[in-house]
Symmetry: D2
Subunit: 412 residues, 4 copies
């Protein structure tokens, strides 16, 4: 018997521009040509580049984060036809493994500039910033955030099947109405189709233009197919059930994360990386009706870093904002306050605000919805694992400001 | 050596009206007289009645839920003076144990009527409903929701120190402004002081009237002191750090829960019970500044029911509401959708909507904020533990509708 | 509805000699009269005294340990008839809860004198010693072993059904043969029936004498019924399946432990206590054949203190004894060496040998059989939880000898 | 910045005989030449072949297991010099990752013939047998044992530093005395140096002969350096502390396991594989004295497959053997009985004895030492995870014999 590993359904080339690789695309559209056809039951490996397509470097400046071109994101690998899948079916995807590419054992977390992408706290922290993480097997650490080291709960930020034309039109109408209703809020509320830097895999020119005009941006997750759900425990060993909207399913995957915290608060908040994912597909005929399923569901795998329930410090937050204004049951406001409580706590040890912002985005923090019924205050909690720090952060520990260096910032 | 257990700081009488028990109160106010003084370092037991003060019975009708008098809630035990505590300090409370009262081994979960309390899903499920849970040691089960049984993660829904007069005024102003700004939304957005059925412990008539006029309702948790935070893992063995606003701290506790799911979605959503809590207090002098603390923090205890990460089904939800409207980064909308996905899934097994509403409120479901940065969609997840069911609910299991009986409803 | 708790099947009196309480007994025999009959499906509470029947006091001397009368142990509560149980059936016992008696919130761990009971390391540590543990809700700590505090994994050390006359005779013959074959090893190898201080519940004089002559001692667990299995995770929420040998099953329980480490190495090695256990019984007809069961099996409950896999220091031991002699695949020798490695490690912090002996007996240490096939060395491991210490015991921590006081010793 | 992964300290060639690869060796001896020198702090990857050096094939016959040549095992990669390490130091090895070789995503478990290696139960199950496991990312399954699938807790079976000449002599003397004292027990009790099929890396002829004469076999783990400890949770993220006996430490590693159960009962009982391990070394000067360390200690990593405590069936076993003979505190006998109880339970589902033997050897079963003090019976437990089966094995489930096919057997 000869040597033989698991088959690759797609390989990427880190030395070549993303826009020139036929197995990648950066819009959701039913007509992007398939890369290949995969047989259910047969495990395959699929390589992915990082979501920006290599725009961010392993260096100590956040200029690249400041200047990132968001018309180009996210580069996904696919779409893949899955034999036998048809609209109304459910595609069961088993995530057998996720690994960084062996030749690139590092990733990045970015705070995007308020005017270019922003993030959950961009009103308070508008500047671009960056941390590079080195992978040490299952662990990672960063020269930009000393004193922490943790095991990754590795996962794809994005996976989903292509929308049908009808679903696509629903998205474009729905998000268009939101944009139309919010022209004066002073910030971008959604990203509508934008025919700039469109990559539609091996599509011909005409098709590529159509994808540009109609294709949905990959930024938001959407209920009909999942997409950019950014769920931290959709990790190795998970089984995810995805609605199928077009013949062959046209499955795509990308935006791999070495680790992410609940909320992924800095937007480019996970530890973003290039990597390879091993998947096995099954088709559940008529699954949408059988499972009464409108949005993806999943069953996590059996392995995740374990800290023990008593090895977290939990911060509470309520829907009263930083100006003292009472909001009615606003969980988003409550979670923002929760994260800020954690900032205040960690600053005592010498970290700067942006280091904390980056850390809470990508470390395995637990963000829970505690209570959403006690009017007018929603209450959320954030659990910060103690054991990712190499010094004692317990409330009982004596506090001394340490020299924590700095994350990367942009020039000027 | 004689026999001697841990000292009781307060005992309740289940046979006597709550309003006549001097160790109870139902408003937050700095001037409610203290029950007694507790010495830091000395464990004490404190008995609590259920939050409604016995308005809900162990029977098969939800009439009592329909008719519940919300001017009377929540009955808390306290306040207790803690020796040495002063404004600016932090009160460290160790929750050494929580148990149901031995003579009342049952609790209840209620869906409140939309016009009397309501809940997270009252637009869809406006009727009152109820489930009674029998405690079987660490487990519980309900004749109103067959097929499930689980271990409780027992905890107090409410604990906190009294507000200072200044903090109290902040609350009343802040919530008053919210009410004033929302007179036309068609639903109550906050509960302002209401001088009806006020119970101020051993206060004299004059003080009691003042407490009625000024005292904050106990319904919402609030950032300055915690209060009704309804956090499911603030359980046995936890250490909670509470801001002190008045001399002696004036600590109160109540609203004990045998179990609660993240969100406590049906409002009276935990398994509400009478019980006894064992606490030990410490005072951290100048703790607010030392810990840079604005809201409570806590460290959970080492014991919680464990299911293994792969023993959950997770449901995804996004901020597109059930009418297809796109909301901008609204985590509350996303979590509502997440819960509805779980309703649809569980209805396949024969449960009615209200049974599911009750179950998801009180069972140990995990409600996570997955992503709050991918405009315009917030994404939340709900993890439903598989092993609380005595039949197979996996997507791979054949579905058959079972006779699931019914929860309790109101007459008419 | 009136107040009503779970029914007591037996209550003990801590102020009264154990030998005078009719619901207790201290031998295994089929003819000890039943205390009462319990209906399957109905939860009951059963009170138990500590295994010595109150011989050990809450004080700072180990004289009582030195002088303990082992002819009197273990005092078990029972036997109870379970309606419908017959030989060949399996008795399914659900351990719904275990609690210390409210009026006695403390327990003890003892090192027995080599000449009176001994223990796993009595060749090295022959003197009697003792530690008293105070219960603080789910946690415990000891004035005799400073610097540690942990949550109990509370459980009964002994539970089982009475042997039939035939099973009893097998035991007596089997253990008699062992004693006969080892008359010159210089230590007691088994405890045969001993008609001294026999307690047979409500038996009349004649029966009591017969029980004394024939009744098996309760010291060892035995494969046919379990008995003194001393299994640390047979805790709250567990379901244990017990062989039935006589009509009515004649179930007994006792020897409650607040906590125990794997091996229970100091013999009186758990945190021994008086307490109350809540049980529910079912009878599986013809269960022995159905389950192909020869010895008890059990399914642990869902709650146990969790430390996270990375919060243990593991010690390795092999079957080469402390004199350098190679033993062939001797797991007992390997585990003894494993424990000694932990002694050496902990002594660096200032603990004396007997404090460590007591601690490793009762704290939640994990004792694993790693490999039993690599001739000639068996390998075992012991996992010591880091988080039970209030100082840093990691190998990376600087070591300083602390003043650790002392455990209790005997006078002279 | 160019692409660059972690450096390889050694690579193997699966197509080339093990005995011809200079980075491998199969005896413990201080003078085997080092492969290379590794700098502390710098992560390296080290490739390993399976322990037999490729003697076992991915096929459906156990002839290769029957005929395995045990003079050739184990092939280890190394030794490696670690800069700065000297006798008396401790080598801290962080296991950053372990992976199967990408080109060989399968492994094997073998029951060795009683007359050629044997195993824990060879008196009862003397025939050779085999199961091949296919790796599916973090999971594995076997065509030879249908109905099970589990995530691996991947680890090296062997790692350690070379013995000094003095330590080596101690081993040879100690094990020689055991052999001399047991010439008539009818089975091999230890493997003394055997100058057949010796591989000493790049040693010249003379040195190789000396290694053959003096070099210790790699079969047993030994207290002085660890070696073949076969510890199932010495997995990814673990830190292991190893005694250094020679200048440079001369570290070797091999015998990689995809998974193993406690006890590794069938001898070739893990899922044996070729793979790559990522390690980082540190040297703790004078560590043996500082840590009072005589045998290796380790701290497991934070990730291991989690089942929840209530998702195991535990079997109890006592030191009464299958012939009814009472042994005195013999943990080895007790564990053998414990495993047999599990055989009886699983046979009800249609598995044959050898399938069960293979499964209990390699699946993540928990083998605990429960009590070793209740004379004359040691009690051990084995926890069998329920969730590795794709059918319900709970005692409450109806049993039906299934067609479970067969493991591989030898011809004749």
């Amino acid at each position: 018997m000869g040597l033989k590993g698991i088959k690759y359904a797609a390989k990427v080339d880190l030395e070549k521009p993303a826009a020139e690789q036929a197995c990648l695309h950066n819009r959701w559209h039913p007509d992007i040509p398939s890369v290949t056809t995969i047989t259910p039951g047969e495990p395959v490996k699929i390589e992915c580049i990082d979501w920006t397509g290599g725009q961010i470097g392993n260096n100590d400046s956040a200029n690249d984060v400041r200047d990132v071109d968001l018309t180009r994101v996210h580069y996904l690998t696919g779409p893949f036809d899955i034999s036998g899948a048809e609209p109304g079916d459910v595609l069961l995807v088993e995530i057998q493994d996720v690994q960084p590419l062996e030749e690139q054992p590092w990733g990045f977390t970015g705070v995007f500039a308020k005017e270019n992408g922003g993030g959950f706290l961009d009103e308070l922290y508008p500047a671009p910033a960056k941390a590079i993480w080195d992978f040490e097997g299952i662990h990672c650490s960063s020269r930009h955030i000393p004193g922490v080291r943790f095991a990754g709960l590795i996962h794809p930020g994005i996976l989903g099947c292509a929308p049908s034309q009808e679903v696509l039109e629903t998205w474009n109408r729905r998000e268009g109405e939101l944009v139309a209703a919010n022209t004066e809020v002073g910030r971008e509320v959604a990203k509508l189709p934008e025919p700039v830097n469109v990559h539609a895999g091996s599509a011909d020119k005409e098709m590529k233009e159509r994808v540009g005009r109609e294709g949905a941006r990959t930024i938001p997750g959407r209920p009909e197919h999942g997409g950019n759900c950014d769920i931290k425990n959709l990790s190795r060993g998970s089984k995810v059930y995805l609605p199928v909207h077009v013949k062959g399913a046209k499955f795509s995957v990308g935006d791999l994360h070495f680790s992410q915290g609940d909320g992924e608060i800095s937007f480019c908040g996970a530890i973003e990386m290039a990597g390879v994912i091993t998947l096995k597909f099954s088709v559940i005929k008529n699954g949408l009706a059988e499972l009464a399923m409108k949005s993806p569901i999943y069953i996590p795998g059996p392995v995740e870093p374990q800290f023990g329930p008593g090895r977290y410090i939990y911060f509470e937050g309520f829907s009263v904002d930083e100006n003292g204004k009472q909001h009615y049951m606003d969980t988003t406001v409550a979670y923002r306050q929760t994260t800020l409580r954690c900032f205040e706590y960690l600053k005592r040890f010498g970290y700067n605000d942006y280091q904390i912002y980056l850390l809470l985005s990508c470390a395995p923090v637990q963000g829970h919805i505690a209570g959403v019924v006690d009017i007018p205050n929603a209450c959320t909690t954030m659990g910060l694992p103690i054991d990712i720090f190499d010094f004692d952060i317990l409330p009982s520990a004596p506090v001394q400001k340490r020299d924590m260096g700095s994350c990367a910032f942009a020039s000027n």
